[in-house]
């Protein structure tokens, strides 16, 4: 079974803090994705990566950066957290063979 894990289920941070969210997949997938999910807006793509050290901006990259130093690990960084970044963050991975995305359990981030 595909397994995607995320470093925290719940996280509370203060405005201005630097926040790291980590995602690890165990299926040797080439592609990894970070989304945020907000009520009424659905899933919105922040960044994705199709190879180690490669990254592409999604639809809402402002205020975020990413890092992919190893194939199995994809990190999302909030350089200076703001209250409008309070959200559910979802990581996903996929193989280029099937394109099916598998999601992690999510991190509920609250920025105070």
């Amino acid at each position: 079974d595909v397994k995607v894990t995320q470093s925290s289920r719940y996280l509370v941070k203060r405005t201005g803090e630097k926040v790291f969210l980590e995602c690890v997949q165990d299926m040797d997938h080439e592609n990894m994705f970070w989304y945020r999910q907000d009520p009424g807006l659905g899933l919105r793509l922040i960044y994705f990566s199709y190879d180690v050290k490669m990254k592409e901006k999604g639809d809402i990259p402002e205020g975020y950066s990413v890092s992919r130093e190893k194939k199995e690990r994809f990190s999302l960084i909030l350089e200076s957290a703001s209250t409008n970044q309070t959200s559910m963050y979802l990581c996903a991975s996929s193989s280029s063979d099937t394109d099916t995305q598998y999601f992690g359990p999510g991190t509920r981030l609250t920025v105070l």
Partner: protein
């Protein structure tokens, strides 16, 4: 513009009352259409991938079908444990990006 629209937004069914959820899409070259189930506070759980019109897939009480403009998720004799939000997504052939609908919230009453 690539777009996915799911209907209805919410659906309440009695246990055993079969129904269908709709996912209409506009995309230039479909690479794949995906159905997910999402429980509150959790990540989406993969259900089905469909690649071409006419394709059908089944799993327990769920059956997904695909035409050139829409997909249906048929739920036969649902049970309360089928209550969840069902998400549809498409991937265009020219891009790595996936476009998600906003989901159908299904509630099955005992």
């Amino acid at each position: 513009e690539d777009q996915v629209t799911q209907s209805p937004e919410a659906l309440r069914l009695q246990e055993g009352e079969s129904s269908s959820l709709n996912c209409s899409y506009t995309v230039s070259g479909l690479r794949g259409l995906f159905w997910y189930r999402q429980d509150p506070g959790k990540g989406p759980e993969f259900l089905f991938t469909l690649y071409s019109a006419g394709e059908e897939k089944e799993k327990e009480r769920l059956k997904a079908t695909l035409t050139k403009k829409e997909s249906f998720l048929h739920i036969t004799a649902p049970k309360p444990e089928d209550s969840a939000t069902y998400l549809c997504a498409v991937q265009a052939s020219r891009t790595y990006k996936y476009i998600f609908g906003t989901g159908t919230r299904l509630k099955v009453l005992a």
